[in-house]
Symmetry: C2
Subunit: 216 residues, 2 copies
Amino acid sequence: MYRHATIQQWKVPEPTLRRLPWYLAFVKILKTRGETNVSSTQIAKEINIDPSKVAKDLSFVKISGKTRVGYDIDALIEILECFLGFTASHKAFLFGVGSLGGALLQDSGLKQYGIEIVAGFDVKGALSGRNINGIPVYHTSEFPQKQQAMDAKVGILTVPVEKAQEVANFMIEGGIRAIWNFTPFRVRVPDNIVIQNTSMYAHLAVMFNRLAANAE
Amino acid sequence: MYRHATIQQWKVPEPTLRRLPWYLAFVKILKTRGETNVSSTQIAKEINIDPSKVAKDLSFVKISGKTRVGYDIDALIEILECFLGFTASHKAFLFGVGSLGGALLQDSGLKQYGIEIVAGFDVKGALSGRNINGIPVYHTSEFPQKQQAMDAKVGILTVPVEKAQEVANFMIEGGIRAIWNFTPFRVRVPDNIVIQNTSMYAHLAVMFNRLAANAE
């Protein structure tokens, strides 16, 4: 009954958007345990953050709970998944079919989160015409032509770091509107282009430092 | 000449640890261009942050630049990589050889950032005894025994979300000291255990929302 809800068309604060998937994950677990209702207090306790923050985050989603009963879990899952864009299918091109890029092509689980990688691009001639996990790989020069047919809005950036800016520019010129950057380089983009950095290596740096500090 | 430097044994502020890999990436690019020196102002301009912040971040690394000349690029790369723990080899076990877990086993590039996945574990019997990208996969029940032989400090968590807490507890009981969590679940750990969350799905949620907002 919520299937006609769509992803929100206005900017939701980034911290809220980062926390909502945590709530979604927790509520999905409750569902597997046979629960039917959940309160914002219960979510707050589990996630270990302030209950008023949870209530405020959920107010963006515009789902109403009932006093003493809380939210209906099925409805909450459906609405959250839709709100977060996970039920849509966002076509994506992946640039740089190296070690990490090839690995991401293998990760079929991304589809459940609203992203469908429809093609990979690489400058290595030997990769062109190959097929990884059902996804075709083309030479980078074929991107403008493939884009005409496929109109992908998302570009995944997994090229070597020294090519990051150049390939990002190329993606944007070809019509990519959002860049998911896995390189450790801070790519610069115009204001109307969305960029999200998944800094795996920065997370490792923090982890190693904390490990060494704890070992003292 | 810097090879005896070790990862810092005290807690460096997390924002600093997250920015240093950006500087490293940029300086490596300068090196490929044949540059030999770089100033903190130059780094600040490229990364688009305050020069005083760059100088402060680099003060943790204890490398000294020369007035008007700046930092020696080769030395800066070597010291930063060492400081960030990327030159060490941290043994890691991966738990949950599903779509994302299997993909991470394929990503040989992680080695360059100081992490070496030495084994994967999964409860699916069909995976046991398999070998992915040269990395053996065992049944999860074999973890305590393999840990005795391998003594891995890092555990990569890529299990289904409803198993995340249970497997995290199991990892910690078995001697894992740092958890790299790729699930969208907020895992709870004791104070002496390091946790880093790589929230790929949260990044997607932000990206989709901004894309929709920009399309208005």
